[in-house]
């Protein structure tokens, strides 16, 4: 096959769709008003923000007054966790989360530990699934918040959020449940009210909106502090002049993501063929995470005897954009906390590879990866002093 460019890192970010950009353009042009201004120029901008919020609420199954725009998924996670933890200290200072959360959640929890909160980190099973029972087992009388991600960014496992929420509420309905849905959005049909969570965060750039826009759902009545103090925007819950163009873009992207859920089976098929092909062609390969509840495009494998960063660089030279959980791709000596938490040995975790397909990928992309990857793995193994040979 001829060399081609294959973008297989859709869990990292996605290209902005032309329809999204088109929806944003008016606010970069004539509709430049400040939504807080009372005159007509301001009201025009306000209408964009309002209509966007209404559209998003309609698609996600919540009330418009429950959805707040933020700058990114990380801000949403910070707001949800710190806002809920600090607003409920009169009831307790114990928080429950999992070992496989994104750093936006884990490092926020660590920051709260320094403030005197106590955090329990629940382990997944070997397939990467967090069971409702394991969450309930961590609950205490002074627990105020449970944070479990909807889908994992590395191994793609989709967690039983509805069941977890039901179990937590059955234990004590005052405990707030937050889910980081950044990876799930666009892969799973989300109806927030049916899901039952108190808070849900999302990000635009994972679903073909630009970087720099996110959102947070906060159920009416949930006690959560304001995170950004300011001029009364977002019903005084999140200050800062509204990012009108990006808000319009997020609304369009969420609308498209919902419509494009119809493509999920096709992407799942590509994913399954890719995994099958990799395992068939490359010995000493470990597949990470369950295939029963998994993001449509997520492939996570680990190849023994080689290191992920060098694999990523060689794939890049072949035109394939990918990701690894190797320590050398981060700035620490620790490989992926997610892989370690599901029992992948440290030395194997160094050789992990994540390929995340999206709806722009084709069967030819899968063919190309399957053609190129075995040679790259073999080349690095031939160079490796720990490779026992074919």
């Amino acid at each position: 096959m001829e060399k081609r460019f294959v973008y297989a890192d859709n869990s990292a970010t996605t290209p902005v769709y032309p329809e999204v950009l088109e929806a944003m353009m008016p606010a970069f042009g004539e509709l430049y008003g400040n939504p807080s201004s009372l005159y007509s120029k301001g009201r025009e901008a306000k209408r964009i923000v309002d209509a966007s919020r209404e559209r998003i609420a309609e698609v996600l199954g919540c009330k418009p007054t429950e959805f707040f725009f933020t700058s990114c998924g990380t801000e949403s996670d910070n707001w949800a966790i710190k806002g809920a933890a600090r607003a409920n200290v009169s009831r307790g200072k114990h928080l429950v989360t999992t070992k496989i959360e994104h750093h936006a959640v884990l490092h926020t929890m660590r920051a709260l530990e320094k403030e005197g909160f106590e955090v329990t980190y629940v382990s997944p099973d070997k397939d990467g699934i967090i069971s409702p029972e394991s969450i309930v087992a961590a609950l205490r009388e002074d627990t105020t918040l449970v944070a479990v991600m909807y889908a994992n960014n590395e191994i793609g496992t989709i967690e039983p959020i509805r069941e977890i929420t039901e179990a937590v509420k059955a234990y004590d309905k005052r405990i707030l449940v937050f889910t980081d849905a950044v990876q799930a959005l666009g892969n799973v049909k989300i109806n927030i009210h049916e899901l039952g969570v108190d808070m849900l965060s999302l990000s635009g750039h994972k679903i073909h909106a630009p970087k720099g826009i996110g959102g947070l759902y906060i159920r009416t009545g949930a006690r959560v502090h304001t995170f950004v103090d300011g001029g009364g925007q977002e019903r005084s819950r999140r200050g800062g002049t509204e990012n009108v163009a990006y808000i319009a873009g997020l609304a369009k992207a969420i609308e498209l993501a919902d419509k494009n859920l119809a493509d999920v089976p096709r992407i799942e098929k590509m994913r399954d063929r890719l995994v099958k092909g990799i395992v068939e062609k490359i010995p000493y390969t470990r597949v990470n995470g369950t295939f029963e509840h998994r993001l449509a495009g997520n492939v996570n494998v680990a190849f023994e005897f080689i290191e992920g960063e060098s694999m990523l660089l060689l794939l890049d030279r072949a035109g394939i954009a990918s990701s690894t959980g190797s320590a050398c791709s981060s700035n620490s000596l620790e490989p992926s906390h997610v892989l370690l938490s599901i029992g992948v040995p440290v030395e194997v975790a160094h050789g992990s590879l994540r390929l995340s397909l999206g709806r722009d990928n084709t069967e030819e992309d899968v063919d190309y990866i399957l053609e190129v990857l075995p040679g790259i793995v073999q080349r690095l193994r031939d160079m490796s002093p720990i490779y026992p040979g074919k």
Binding site: E307, E309, L314, S326, C328, P335, E347, M383, P385
Partner: protein, 143 residues
Amino acid sequence: MYSEKVMDHFSDPRNVGEIENADGIGEVGNAVCGDIMKIFLKIENDVIVDVKFKTFGCGAAIATSSMATEMIKGKKVSEALELTNKAVIEALDGLPPAKIHCSVLAEEAVKSAIANYYDNNGIKHNINVGCDGHCHSCGKHDA
């Protein structure tokens, strides 16, 4: 993040392989830390006439192995002992801060292979190899 030189030595590494009946073999690092370097030396009349390496590790680990072997090939053993990680970094036009330990490992791999050569030939030495294969024992990897 990587210089062109690093990418060149990573993409097209020099001296990959093993030497049968090598006069000196050195292995440093471990799989848990994510990098292992093994260097094989062929020595005649106190000169390194051939050198090969095998490395498990990131792009910088492979590039520093490649560069280090290039730098000691054809040199006297005593000269090769003078190789420093700094010299390897300079020859590669720099390394990102988090990758400095790779160059340390390359220096140690060379020293370890030479120490092995001395041991095999009953030559007394006091070469400090550095890495003993146990992470965090040397404190050098906290870059």
